[in-house]
């Protein structure tokens, strides 16, 4: 896989799961600093390879295979970020540095790096590091009927966390996805009662899938 293809997948993943919707061509173009036509062209290529779904007006969303690939890349990228930031004490430019060498990093090296860094959960920007076997997921990545345990929640607003805490969304809490609306809110079961959670909130709740059904890492886009 060529270098830029990986960048695309990573970027689409980031947009898709932090907003719980398909990524728009304009967003990808802005993030990667390239022209919209070339983004469209790449999207068509990726779609042909079965890595993304490309709807002309709906935007680009990763398929299951695409998600797997993207998680691989992001894992390396974010592990490297931690390394540059924590060990080499590079502030600010760690993202660029990681970007330059992530594509060359082998699987084995990434595993070693993870060990040395003491299995970090998040990158310096606060984004979760995908585990090799799908350890951390955003709540939005779970499919219906999935059961999971909460790891942590993040939010810009302190009130939001407090609200989630008082409802019972705290580390280790059990949560079950009952229903979901495409690109919309999730209905979850929490301590015996149904609670509707907006997509923006769900994408900032990080969970670990319960062992029972964790064989398939399925994510609805």
């Amino acid at each position: 896989m060529s270098k830029s293809k990986e960048d695309y997948l990573g970027e689409i993943y980031r947009i898709q799961f932090s907003n719980n919707r398909a990524a728009k061509i304009t967003e990808i173009a802005a993030a990667l600093k390239i022209s919209k036509p070339s983004v469209s062209e790449m999207a068509r290529n990726l779609s042909r390879e079965g890595l993304v779904l490309f709807e002309k007006y709906g935007g680009v969303s990763l398929t299951k295979e695409g998600i797997e690939k993207a998680r691989h890349i992001l894992r390396k990228h974010r592990l490297l970020e931690v390394f540059f930031n924590r060990i080499l004490k590079i502030k600010g430019k760690f993202h660029l540095e990681a970007h330059k060498i992530e594509h060359g990093l082998s699987e084995e090296a990434a595993d070693k790096l993870e060990q040395v860094l003491n299995n970090p959960n998040v990158c310096p920007d606060g984004d979760p590091i995908p585990a090799k076997k799908g350890k951390i997921l955003r709540l939005t990545e779970l499919s219906e009927k999935a059961k999971a345990s909460v790891l942590f929640a993040t939010s810009e607003e302190k009130n939001c966390i407090q609200r989630l805490n008082s409802l019972g969304i705290v580390p280790k809490a059990k949560i079950e996805i009952l229903r979901r609306i495409r690109h919309g809110p999730l209905m979850v079961m929490l301590k015996g009662r149904e609670v509707a959670l907006g997509p923006d909130i769900c994408s900032n709740i990080f969970v670990e899938k319960d062992e029972m059904s964790s064989k398939t890492k399925k994510a609805k886009s």
Partner: protein
């Protein structure tokens, strides 16, 4: 607009006067207001969704000959300051210090409810737990051992059924025993992890708090992250303590986690569960929240509401009108004709006309709407609708939670604006409030159906709703981009589906209609008489002339319509009633063209959101914002009204 009675209770805290105070505290939708009604004999509005009560309600009751004040506080999940209603409840408990807290707990959701109970116990204030919905447990195969719970928590537990009133006597007896100091309370104390206890100890040493125990105050400071309000020197050391004691997660999250953990432990000790098969409720729940069936059922429900309003309301309107004309106006006419004094004669004729218009327009539509709204509220459907519409609401930079105030807004804008207090931040509250001013309340629906629906046709009434809806989406979209900040996102608990009690729905409808009868009717009569007298002395033309450029030229309405729009500021449906009185006929077509009726109705729907709404806007958001909103709606109404009139002329609709 109804429900002005809410305005009288807007205080953000209760003022202690004579007698002892009992505060009702609990999670949202646990039946506090229902219990309040039973205890005080008062009529607080109760519904089946979280956040019905956003105000503090006060009432009195006699226990063993002693006068006791009961205070109903908005429902909260935790003692925090995360939203307006939570802050109100917290402040009223910790600062006003009632003599007794009755913690109302939903027995079905013991584990979740106990979280707040444990937090309340930390305050070490006299308290008892009322275990509500106890009778529902049996259907679910759950048993809760209240004796065991009592010995664990160290405060009395009384099972009650707030809807039917069972267990209330025991609740009162236990309350009075606690108030008289006859029951010894051992408050359960949550023990936290060492690093949290260390932080709590350090913080309680440096803060001064005389109203609540230092331990509770310290926990509160960590949980609320409320450090800014402290003095500079203090806040620095507070921050340092919190930072030094923090481990893997944020301290406040860890406190929360451990309290939840102990709540779960206690709940598990006292609860026994048998697995039983799925109930109808669960199927219904599924059906109404699956994306496809949920959307379909929502559309059907809304269509049923609209047709009931149009057909049933229209039928009642005709019936009442005929009855009034035959039974009252008919027999009275010869008598009025015989009055020699012109002034009295005019007053009586116009006054009667006013009553006639009021009975025909407002009463039937408004009553029918409130009965339907009551059904939606009491079954527990409203929050499901919020869930289904969350995605659409994102397009106007709000989220699903704003749907509940908006649906209330179809009834009356005043309580709807108050109910925005459940929204998480000020930006969302203001944005929702502005949109609420555009939503046709039941008074405006009365005008839409009573004027356009009745005289031009149902499709044009629907067109008005369409135009208004479009404007709401457009205004929401633009304001959402302009107003700084982001919406936090939907967090909304689904209440269980319950069969509505007819008695409760009728009582609610009456409570909401009461104001209409006591406030609106005198206004209608007085207003009609004033118009009659002005007309008698030929003053009407002089008064309406200055507005002619806007009313006559731009909006192309009869000049007299201007004065009726002024009446509409008092109450929206007055505008139409006065128009009928002025036109001298209940048949609008006698003196207005269909296009004029349409434009008049559209303008009435959009412009200045009545005095009641203005007062509540001012109370909630201040002078500047409320004046801006009022000004904005007037401009919008005038511009849209004139534009639509010209558009229709151009296209040839309604001409």
């Amino acid at each position: 607009m109804k429900c002005h009675q809410k305005l009288k209770k807007q205080s953000h805290s209760f003022q202690k006067k004579s007698g002892q105070y009992i505060a009702l505290v609990g999670n949202p939708n646990t039946g506090k207001s229902c219990l309040f009604n039973h205890l005080t004999g008062m009529g607080a509005i109760i519904s089946n969704y979280p956040g019905t009560t956003v105000d503090i309600l006060e009432g009195k009751t006699h226990i063993e000959g002693k006068l006791v004040n009961i205070v109903d506080l908005p429902g909260i999940y935790a003692l925090s300051s995360a939203s307006e209603d939570e802050k109100v409840t917290k402040d009223n408990i910790t600062k006003q210090r009632p003599e007794l807290i009755i913690n109302v707990v939903d027995a079905n959701l013991l584990e979740r409810n106990l979280y707040l109970t444990l937090q309340l116990l930390e305050l070490k204030m006299p308290m008892l737990v009322a275990l509500n919905f106890y009778e529902e447990l049996e259907d679910k195969g759950i048993t809760v051992n209240s004796q065991k719970l009592q010995s664990l928590l160290g405060v009395p537990i009384v099972p009650i059924d707030a809807q039917r009133g069972a267990g209330i006597n025991e609740l009162l007896n236990t309350s009075i025993k606690i108030l008289n100091g006859k029951i010894k309370l051992n408050f359960y104390n949550v023990k936290y992890d060492d690093h949290i206890e260390k932080a709590v100890k350090a913080i309680s040493k440096i803060i001064k708090e005389d109203k609540i125990p230092g331990r509770a105050a310290a926990l509160n400071i960590i949980e609320d992250r409320d450090i800014k309000s402290e003095k500079k020197s203090k806040s620095v050391s507070l921050r340092k303590i919190i930072r030094d004691c923090s481990k893997e997660h944020d301290l406040s999250t860890e406190i929360s986690r451990e309290r939840h953990g102990q709540a779960a432990l206690i709940a598990a000790k006292v609860t026994q569960k048998k697995i039983i098969k799925k109930s109808v409720k669960e199927y219904l729940d599924r059906f109404t929240t699956e994306p496809f069936t949920g959307t379909i059922s929502m559309i059907i429900i809304l269509a049923v509401i609209f047709s009931a309003l149009f057909y049933l309301g229209g039928y009642l309107s005709g019936l009442l009108g005929t009855l009034f004309e035959r039974g009252i106006i008919g027999p009275l006419t010869p008598f009025i004709e015989s009055i020699p004094n012109n002034l009295i004669k005019t007053s009586m004729t116009w006054g009667l006309e006013g009553i006639n218009a009021g009975i025909q327009i407002a009463l039937p539509y408004i009553a029918v709407f409130y009965i339907l709204l009551g059904l939606l509220e009491d079954t527990g459907y409203l929050p499901r609708m919020a869930y289904i519409l969350d995605r659409l609401m994102h397009k106007i930079h709000l989220h699903g939670k704003a749907i509940v105030p908006m649906m209330l807004g179809f009834g009356c804008t005043v309580p709807a604006i108050l109910s925005t207090r459940v929204l998480p931040n000020k930006r969302e509250r203001i944005l929702t409030a502005i949109l609420l001013c555009l939503i046709p309340c039941s008074a405006r629906t009365a005008v839409i159906l009573g004027a356009v629906g009745k005289f031009i046709g149902v499709q044009y009434a629907l067109l008005i709703y369409g135009i208004v809806l479009l404007l709401i989406l457009l205004v929401g979209y633009i304001l959402g981009r302009v107003l700084p900040g982001e919406s936090t996102g939907l967090i909304l608990e689904m209440p269980e589906y319950r069969l509505p009690y007819l008695r409760n729905i009728l009582m609610k409808t009456w409570l909401r209609l009461k104001d209409f009868i006591y406030i609106a009717f005198p206004l209608v009569i007085a207003g009609s008489i004033i118009l009659g007298i002005l007309n008698l002395y030929g003053l009407l033309t002089i008064l309406t002339k200055p507005f002619d450029p806007i009313i006559g030229k731009w909006l192309m309405l009869p000049t007299v319509a201007g004065i009726t729009l002024v009446y509409g500021i008092l109450r929206k449906e007055l505008a139409l009633e006065m128009l009928m009185v002025l036109g001298g006929s209940n048949v609008l077509l006698d003196f207005m063209s269909p296009l004029q009726i349409f434009i008049f109705t559209l303008v009435v729907t959009l412009y200045f959101p009545c005095v009641g709404t203005f007062a509540v806007l001012k109370h909630e958001f201040g002078w500047k914002n409320s004046l801006l909103i009022a000004f904005f709606t007037i401009i919008l109404a005038v511009i849209i009204g004139g534009l639509i009139a010209r558009l229709f002329l151009l296209v040839g609709v309604l001409v």
